[in-house]
């Protein structure tokens, strides 16, 4: 309790971070978009240079890193979209990957030899977002009367149904094989999109994220954003303040879905193939974990959280493998267990590690890595109130 009353002054890193956060929150709203653009431009410029420095340059070539960053960007988009649904409006959506799949398949239909169409990338981005949005509305309309757990179960079901439909409607989707040979984007300026050249993807992704982030921030600081938060806080009171809860929740769902659709279009164009097994529950779960770990309700927190977690799972675990492999430790015994660190494939333990991270997070920092002020207040105050009650009981 005492430590909490006076902010810890010792840690300079934390102090700097806090100063930056204060500065950012004090920036007038009309400068917010500028802040996002400058911030994204800075990060986009610095990341390709950072990976040239040791030890990161030892883990892979710059192109491999950029390729990974572009993939991470997909998850950043997904997490930012899910954050609207879960973090702002407080609706637990466990089938979020469905909209991702719908966005990806939309692009595959719009630009592949399978359909014979070749619609350019930019319009397809909008089309993918729009189609995902329509499905968000279609799913939302009948289900958003449900609350809490029931909504979670219905969305979980939807998340399972969509890939199964893509799997079984093989006349239209080629079933398990998926639609391959999806065209890669052709854009002026950014360069030649191709498997060996991830830079254009990387830049395009950065631009998409910047735009999405600006729009989401703007929505958050508006009448609509306040209505979402009011519904999260107390749905009945929100209705008694004149908020049409059905429409408002529907909009949260639709906007979350359309952001996911953007991610899907980009993903399909980058991978050049879409198949049902890419969009399983694992994706929904991963994105939800990213939102929770990153700091629910805080747009940039969720974005950074998603990026860090994606990099940790794709690069970090791989490096852990090669690190222990390189160490060449002899197997050692823990009672009946024999532990051979060199033979463990950490990538297989991804979900165990997620689970551990989530449990640890709930114990130590339930508001997430980069929480919104609101959420921190909520969770910290409850913890303090609990502690105070315990003290009373003991006294």
């Amino acid at each position: 309790m005492i430590g909490k009353a006076s902010p810890p002054a010792a840690n300079p890193l934390r102090r700097t971070l806090r100063a930056i956060r204060d500065l950012a929150s004090r920036l007038p709203q009309r400068h917010q978009s500028l802040t996002v653009i400058v911030g994204m431009a800075f990060v986009t410029a610095i990341l390709p240079l950072v990976v040239l420095a040791p030890p990161l340059n030892g883990f892979g070539r710059q192109n491999d890193w950029l390729d990974g960053f572009a993939n991470a960007g997909v998850f950043v988009l997904l997490a930012m979209g899910l954050n609207v649904v879960v973090g702002l409006a407080g609706l637990l959506d466990l089938g979020y990957a469905a909209f991702f799949a719908i966005g990806a398949y939309t692009y595959a239909y719009g630009a592949s030899p399978f359909s014979g169409l070749d619609v350019p990338f930019w319009p397809m981005l909008l089309v993918g977002a729009a189609v995902a949005m329509v499905f968000g509305l279609l799913l939302g309309a009948p289900t958003l009367r449900l609350r809490g757990d029931y909504l979670a179960i219905v969305t979980l079901g939807f998340g399972e149904i969509v890939p199964v439909v893509f799997l079984n409607a093989d006349t239209y989707t080629r079933g398990t094989n998926g639609i391959s040979g999806v065209y890669q984007p052709v854009l002026p300026i950014v360069g030649n999109f191709g498997f060996g050249n991830p830079m254009p993807y990387y830049l395009t992704m950065a631009a998409i994220i910047a735009v999405a982030m600006i729009l989401l921030y703007r929505l958050q600081d508006s009448r609509l954003g306040r209505a979402w938060m009011a519904i999260r806080e107390d749905e009945l009171a929100a209705a008694s303040m004149g908020i049409n809860t059905v429409t408002t929740k529907l909009l949260a769902f639709a906007i979350g879905a359309s952001t996911s659709g953007l991610g899907g279009v980009f993903y399909a164009s980058k991978l050049s193939v879409v198949s049902p097994d890419q969009f399983g529950f694992v994706i929904s779960f991963t994105v939800l974990a990213m939102v929770v770990l990153g700091g629910m309700g805080n747009i940039w927190g969720v974005a950074v959280g998603a990026f860090v977690i994606y990099e940790l799972q794709s690069q970090g675990l791989k490096q852990l493998n090669s690190f222990f492999g390189g160490l060449g430790l002899p197997p050692f015994h823990l009672g009946p267990l024999t532990v051979d660190l060199t033979s463990i494939n950490f990538l297989e333990y991804q979900f165990l590690l997620y689970g551990l991270a989530l449990v640890g997070m709930m114990l130590l920092r339930p508001e997430g890595l980069f929480p919104s002020r609101r959420r921190r207040a909520e969770l910290r105050d409850e913890a303090d109130a609990g502690a105070a009650n315990e003290e009373l009981v003991q006294a």
Partner: protein, 338 residues
């Protein structure tokens, strides 16, 4: 006596034969109840008399078992007797369009035109379905107009002009005082998601004006300087005031206050009572009050209605009600009447 002048004033709210049953329990039984414009009307009664149930029905939170509620002369809440008509309203146009398209095809019109009509029919059906689910205010009004009755929802009651507070405070705890009031102004503001995303002139103007108006509401109830505090961090009395500010921000014609002085000390209670008088005289509002504190009720009310076991047992000026033997019996038990 104030009772004599009331019939001349138009009614803000009227309930006719209002009954609400929860299973076998009749919470409110056949209550006729009127609120004249500009009055402060109190609803009192022992615990479990059905006061809050009345409130919730009036505010659109639960449908009555029978009876209806008129607000400003318009029927707003009723048992949805003819609600089966609602789907008919949107199925009929869709079927008509589809039939037309089929007829067009039979009549030998080019297939393209027929298909186009079928598509239009499908569009009409989908659009009407979405309307029925989303239920924008104009649709609710349409239902009322044609007597196809579904009770107004809470948000529609707010738009019609009823603001309310809650017995156990229901603020948006993790939003600031200012944001709470801004949410109260939801129905006053018009900027939609698109306005927000594009930061249109409408959005910018509304945000600026809305914020300054919200500040004025906070100052009005005595919360100047606390705009940026989270609602959860405000002291109890201020939370009650914030709830009133939030309700006032929707610019209601009728304000429903559910035990606004519960848990307050005498001095807080008297400032609160003064606030009710101020609201009535300055804002030209009608107030319906649920209250347990008899000093508040007797001091501020023009009319008092007494409920007991869901039935209206007395109605009139505070003095009349105070002397009514049935009221004394309800509060103090049988045999208490001297």
């Amino acid at each position: 006596m104030s009772g004599a002048s009331t019939p001349a004033r138009p009614l803000v709210l009227r309930t006719i034969g209002l009954t609400k049953q929860f299973g076998g329990l009749v919470a409110v039984r056949d209550v006729d109840f009127e609120i004249p414009e500009g009055a402060i009307v109190s609803l009192i009664g022992p615990n479990g008399a059905g006061k809050t149930t009345m409130f919730n029905v009036i505010a659109g939170l639960s449908d009555p078992t029978s009876g209806l509620v008129e607000f400003l002369g318009q029927r707003m809440i009723a048992r949805p007797e003819r609600s089966w008509l609602e789907p008919v309203v949107w199925v009929v146009p869709a079927v008509v369009v589809w039939a037309l398209s089929y007829a067009a095809w039979l009549a030998g019109l080019p297939l393209v035109l027929g298909q186009l009509l079928v598509l239009v029919g499908l569009g009409v059906l989908i659009a009407t379905l979405i309307t029925a689910v989303v239920r924008p205010p104009w649709y609710g009004l349409l239902l009322v107009r044609f007597g196809i009755f579904k009770s107004a929802r809470p948000n529609e009651m707010v738009l019609a002009g009823i603001g309310r507070t809650f017995q156990n405070i229901r603020l948006f705890a993790n939003m600031t005082a200012l944001e709470n009031v801004l949410v109260g102004m939801h129905g006053q503001l018009r900027a939609n998601g698109l306005d927000a995303a594009l930061r249109t002139a409408r959005h910018n103007r509304e945000e600026v004006q809305g914020r300054s108006e919200a500040r004025r509401w906070l100052a009005y109830v005595g919360l100047r300087g606390r705009e940026d505090e989270l609602a959860r961090n405000l002291p109890y009395g201020d939370q009650r005031r914030l709830e009133i500010a939030r309700a006032l921000a929707s610019r209601p014609r009728l304000l429903l206050l559910d035990e606004p002085t519960a848990g307050m000390n005498p001095s807080e209670t008297s400032t609160m009572t003064a606030l009710f008088g101020k609201i009535r005289s300055e804002l030209n509002l009608t107030i319906l009050l649920i209250e347990h504190d008899m000093r508040v009720v007797m001091g501020v009310s023009d009319r008092v209605t007494v409920l007991d076991h869901g039935e209206k047992i007395a109605e009139g000026s505070p003095d009349e009600v105070r002397r009514d033997p049935r009221v004394i019996e309800a509060y103090l038990g049988k045999g208490s009447v001297a």
